[in-house]
């Protein structure tokens, strides 16, 4: 095929999961040119899922979550230095230390960072944490080891819920404040959010929903927080778990279609420029990418999932060294999982792309169940609680656009299935983003609009 694609200079900005897997895939596919990886953290690539679980439980030190190398990548590593810009015409990446890296092809894999507490003075109080990096996890784990009197978790998405779970497992009192009506509601909708709320309460979490933290209090050290309902919480540790911000600011002058929702790309991971024209030499992968998916109406998706980072990085890398007709689309069905309060939660598809749900297996009461999501009579997602081994079946139904609700007959579902509204809130009113984000518009909102127009 095209020999020159196997040579030249490739720069990958972002030295985390997607960056590393892309580098490995480039070498696997025969890329023999020069490869440079840029990362703003000083650490070599590490794994994030354990940071909110085993690390906070004190079972694994934060420094021990390094990602295993699947093969040598023979790359130049520039760690501890941020990229500050891209010159798309001169094909150069600018670094914070003044260095310029020329490239023939560029992969953007800068991911996301924790959304900071909006008041910088309050955020600077001793005892206030975020949880995104290995350093964050090390600092927080140390505080949990010291035995705080109470931990305040702000935001009950997946990260906030896992932190609360780790605290309760260590018998640390914890208060969770969630702006939405229940934990996980932004990612999973109302039905499972109710199950999640029950999980929190049964494990002794002081869960407060429908309220916000208005201020963090303290004089140098955190002492507590004020809430929008006028109440206060006394706590010596607070974790801000308000979702993620995509690392795209450095691309402001790049001429690429980059903004707060990510860097928009085509199904083959090629970035669009600001005019909506696809580039040939700039690719995107991982949490920062915003891409169209045919199973979900070609809405642009931005996923904060481990599996997506890996799959998309592999497709991007393949396409970087392959000529047009040999390029592949990134069509993987999104999946993610979480472990909290002794429960395993696993998702396939996009639960927020839905207007209805049914309990297809098990029951809400047992908290061992499979919930199936549908949009306009088609299955679009399934989420299991302690029933992950059934999900392959539903993934196949999603991939084949099977009708919603699914056919009856499951061995562990004898009651009739009654579809309920999926009750997915508009992300705009949540204080943290769902981990499966439709960055266009919500399908059920569109449904409502059609009715009004008709």
């Amino acid at each position: 095929m095209s020999g020159e694609l196997r040579d030249g200079r490739i720069v990958i900005v972002g030295a985390s999961l997607a960056g590393l897997r892309a580098a490995e895939t480039l070498r696997d596919e025969g890329f023999a040119g020069s490869l440079t990886l840029v990362g703003d953290e000083p650490h070599p690539p590490y794994d994030r899922p354990p940071l909110s679980k085993q690390v906070l439980l004190g079972r694994v030190p934060a420094t021990a979550t390094g990602l295993p190398a699947r093969r040598p990548v023979d790359a130049q590593w520039k760690l501890g230095v941020a990229a500050t810009g891209v010159d798309g015409i001169g094909r150069r990446v600018f670094l914070a230390n003044g260095e310029e890296l020329p490239f023939d092809r560029l992969l953007i894999a800068t991911g996301t960072r924790a959304r900071p507490w909006p008041n910088p003075a309050e955020a600077a109080l001793d005892g206030v944490f975020a949880l995104r990096t290995s350093d964050d996890a090390a600092g927080l784990a140390e505080r949990l080891d010291a035995g705080p009197r109470r931990v305040l978790v702000i935001g009950a998405g997946f990260t906030g819920s896992e932190i609360a779970s780790a605290c309760r497992e260590r018998d640390i009192p914890v208060t969770v404040v969630e702006r939405g009506p229940a934990p996980l509601v932004g990612a999973l909708g109302g039905t499972l959010a109710a199950v999640a709320a029950e999980m929190h309460r049964r494990h002794g979490v002081d869960l407060r929903c429908g309220v916000q933290v208005t201020s963090l209090e303290g004089d140098g050290r955190l002492t507590g927080a004020r809430l929008s309902d006028g109440s206060t919480v006394e706590a010596d540790v607070a974790v801000v778990a308000l979702g993620a911000v995509r690392n795209t600011e450095w691309l402001a002058e790049s001429g690429l279609a980059a903004g707060p929702r990510g860097v928009t790309c085509d199904a083959g991971c090629r970035a669009f420029n600001m005019y909506g024209i696809v580039t040939d030499d700039v690719f995107v992968a991982g949490d920062v990418a915003r891409f169209p998916h045919p199973l979900f109406g070609y809405q642009l998706l931005a996923l904060e999932h481990w599996g997506n980072a890996v799959a998309q990085a592999e497709v991007a890398a393949h396409n970087m060294v392959s000529a047009g007709p040999f390029r592949r689309p990134h069509l993987a069905v999104p999946t993610f999982w979480s472990s909290q309060f002794g429960h395993n939660i696993k998702s396939v598809g996009v639960p927020t792309y839905s207007d209805q749900v049914v309990v297809a297996q098990g029951s809400l009461r047992e908290a061992r169940l499979v919930v199936v999501y549908g949009y306009k009579g088609r299955i679009t997602a399934a989420v299991s609680v302690n029933r992950a081994k059934w999900l392959d079946y539903y993934q196949n139904l999603i991939e084949t656009a099977a009708p919603f609700p699914p056919e009856p007959g499951a061995a562990d579902r004898t009651a009739p299935m009654i579809p309920l509204p999926s009750d997915v809130p508009d992300p705009a009113v949540l204080s943290h983003g769902p981990t499966v984000a439709l960055t266009g518009h919500l399908p059920d909102r569109r449904l409502t609009l059609v009715r009004h127009g008709g």
Binding site: Q361, E366, W390, D392, N396, E407, D412
Partner: protein, 406 residues
């Protein structure tokens, strides 16, 4: 004419040494209805889909044939023979003392002991130039291991070997034969073995020791633990499944390697390849050839064929693991194969409970035999096979060797 149907030819004892050409025939249609009303599936993707399909029951009591349903209902089925949520509760309870999340290190901790048992057995072969891999090694190894794990005195082994034979006999599939007698003998054996194991467990009540029977009667289980019947049925399952299959995995492994001296030499030179080689054996010559007890709870469409509610659905795992639409060059045994998501342990909620132990035992067993015995060669090929087309493996595997390595 009827005697020629594919299912009859597969279950015919004459096919036992090499059923694979018949499986290739089976894969020509993704679903093969048989004249006895059963449906055979032998292609990888269809089998995996059915293993994850919640409308497919593992409980024979859902068979539409009233006689079959009645025979199945005579004794409480073990957790491999029931569906969620009952299956899930029983399996989780049995898993508590055996694996993650409550006992994650259990199997790993047995490594040293299994090595000692294997080394001891190999040392006993020193003075025998002709050995039977089955009787002298592949059978005693897993029996010793499962006895220690469950907490069964090994001197009782001859007693439960008889029961075990009858139980496995109940799994025989011969469409020409009335299964009543075999099924009743199997039921009798399960009952007797259950009473025996229940008695052993009872002796341990209040006297906890480090074995599963003791854990079943002494440990606090938030799911409520096992009733007396459940304890008996579960213990029988673990004892039988814990050795009947591993014998075949080890023996099939030795036979496969002895037929391929270059691969045998490779593994001898590079023992680190053994875990991968065992995975390939599970794909290439799996001990569990098929799952004969699946039944659709509603009419289920598989590759354009409607399998009716209550019909016997037989998933031929060994055929799926050699499906050329899934595996490149599937009839080649390649211990270095990396794309190897075989069906050797099934898949889905009933995927093999004892898989980590079976893997460990086979890896240690084959490593010990290859390392210690020089000039290994087959004395008889093909060897005589056991009856069962379900749990397939040689009854004897006579080999010769030039002695123990220094």
């Amino acid at each position: 004419m009827a005697a020629d149907t594919l299912f009859r030819r597969i279950t015919d004892y004459a096919s036992r040494p090499d059923p694979y050409p018949l499986y290739a025939e089976l894969r020509e249609s993704k679903v093969a209805p048989q004249d006895d009303g059963s449906y055979l599936v032998g292609t990888y993707h269809e089998i995996t889909a059915l293993l994850h399909d919640p409308r497919i029951s593992s409980d024979r009591r859902h068979r539409s044939d009233p006689q079959e349903a009645r025979l199945a209902g005579e004794l409480a089925p073990s957790f491999i023979g029931v569906d969620d949520p009952e299956h899930d509760r029983l399996r989780r309870t049995a898993m508590r003392p055996f694996g993650p999340p409550h006992t994650p290190g259990r199997v790993d901790a047995m490594h040293g002991e299994i090595v000692r048992i294997a080394d001891g057995l190999v040392a006993g072969l020193r003075d025998k130039q002709r050995i039977d891999v089955v009787d002298d090694f592949a059978y005693p190894l897993p029996v010793t291991v499962i006895c220690r794990l469950l907490g069964v005195p090994q001197e009782d082994e001859p007693m439960f070997r008889g029961w075990s034979d009858a139980i496995v006999g109940g799994l025989d599939l011969n469409p020409d034969e009335d299964p009543t007698q075999r099924t009743q003998a199997a039921t009798e054996a399960r009952r007797a073995m259950g009473v025996y194991l229940g008695g052993l467990a009872e002796q341990r009540r209040g006297k906890p020791s480090d074995d599963l029977l003791s854990a079943f009667v002494n440990d606090q289980d938030p799911a409520g633990g096992l009733s007396q019947i459940e304890l008996m049925v579960t213990s029988v399952l673990l004892l039988v499944a814990g050795h009947e299959t591993t014998v075949n995995l080890i023996t099939n492994g030795m036979l496969t390697l002895l037929r391929r001296p270059d691969q045998l030499d490779l593994l001898r030179r590079e023992p680190a390849l053994m875990p991968q080689a065992v995975e390939e054996l599970l794909r290439f010559e799996p001990p569990v050839q098929m799952l004969p007890q699946r039944t659709p709870l509603v009419d289920v469409e598989v590759a354009g064929v409607t399998v009716p509610k209550g019909a016997p659905l037989v998933l031929v795992l060994a055929s799926g693991s050699r499906d050329p639409r899934r595996f490149r060059d599937p009839d080649r045994f390649d211990p270095q194969r990396t794309d190897n998501q075989h069906l050797g342990f099934g898949s889905g909620v009933h995927s093999c409970f004892g898989a980590p132990l079976a893997r460990l035992e086979a890896q240690i067993a084959l490593t010990a035999l290859l390392r210690d015995l020089d000039g290994l060669r087959l004395a008889e090929d093909p060897p005589p096979y056991r009856r069962s087309p379900v749990l397939r493996g040689p009854r004897h595997l006579v080999v010769e060797h030039d002695g123990l390595r220094a």
